[in-house]
Symmetry: C2
Subunit: 187 residues, 2 copies
DNA sequence: TAGAATACGTCAGTCATATTGACATATTTT
DNA sequence: AAAATATGTCAATATGACTGACGTATTCTA
């Protein structure tokens, strides 16, 4: 059920001295890459455990998250954000709709569109899923001291593909009021 | 093949004003969480594409990485690091061994152990896989300015489960010379 | 207004990675 | 000699991704 069977054993390792991190050097960067792996894994672990109890997976969480943050999201936009195929999204979204966490409404001006919203149950589930993550990130920033938040944000944003960076910044930073549409049916 | 079918379309979204980030507030944290998702996804994308061409997946990369960094690693240690089951590791590791990227040698003092090493081909593949990631992280740190490296590292480490933090720090930070062993066969 | 394009859904098949459970084998420890 | 350990393996199952093909409702456009 849990992501981690091993909860309390140490997994100790030798590291030869040539691997020691020279500040700014290659090994230092590789250390950060490893750390990113571990941080992401633990960051994900709590919602994963809750989702498993409901018979859901990470994919359900991602949908709940983005629909929660962008009410009225269209299916095509969600596909573009998640970068998955229509077919992959299909099943997961259907489960969320069938079980009453997500609601689809016809577009007002374009009746082909299925605008996505969370139901009250969906909002509640999302809140439960993300509470531990919000707690974890808040605590980490506090521990790392003032100014770490800005630096962390900057590095993360700079890690994003350059040609995606503006969009991502708009998506999870400043408001960009815009509802344009684009091509579909990846081929 | 690629992780991303959509390469050049914008995926624009409206964000209502109540969602705007108040510095240090809840929405600000949620923004960072989203950013972590996008950053991790792009960070992973290049090796993923290369691996797909070889018929490998992310799991193969993870094994190559940890074996490369910790030559002589035992299978049980790798299981503890990756937190997967023996059975999951089994197939992936076998593929790497069969195709000549990883080599197993008998333990000198305990002949039950299969100590893991990269072959020259394994080292070469790992280098190819991680070159773009090293480049990406280096560039991001440079863009984010001096001091960002330390802050980034601190936040990532603080994101790791508290009871894991020491081990992880030892694993990907300072040298901890130690080859102890522990229980196995998660149950 | 007829046909093209768009938004969405769905059926069918495949793949990679993970899971649990059970068991086999070699080796070391007690 | 028996128990514990380190590893490997068979079988069945689940999730989440993929490609390809097709269907249907709706809107746009020539």
């Amino acid at each position: 059920m849990m992501d981690a069977p091993a909860t309390n054993q140490p997994h100790p390792l030798a590291q030869d001295e040539t691997t020691a991190a020279a500040p700014g050097g290659r090994e230092d960067i590789v250390s950060l890459m490893e750390l990113l792996f571990f941080a992401y894994r633990d960051f994900i672990s709590e919602p994963d455990a809750m989702l498993a109890e409901l018979g859901f997976g990470r994919a359900h969480h991602r949908i709940l998250h983005f629909v929660g943050r962008h009410p009225g999201l269209r299916v095509s936009q969600l596909l573009a954000i998640l970068r998955i195929t229509k077919q992959s999204l299909g099943r997961v979204l259907r489960e969320l709709v069938d079980r009453g966490y997500v609601q689809q409404t016809e577009g007002a001006t374009d009746r082909r569109q299925r605008l996505l919203h969370l139901t009250p149950a969906g909002r509640e589930l999302l809140e439960r899923l993300e509470a531990p993550q919000i707690q974890r990130v808040s605590a980490a920033l506090e521990q790392a001291g003032p100014g770490s938040r800005a630096a962390f944000r900057q590095v993360l944003l700079a890690l994003v593909d350059e040609n995606e960076r503006r969009r991502v910044a708009a998506l999870c930073g400043l408001s960009v009021d815009d509802h344009r549409q684009e091509g579909d049916d990846a081929k």
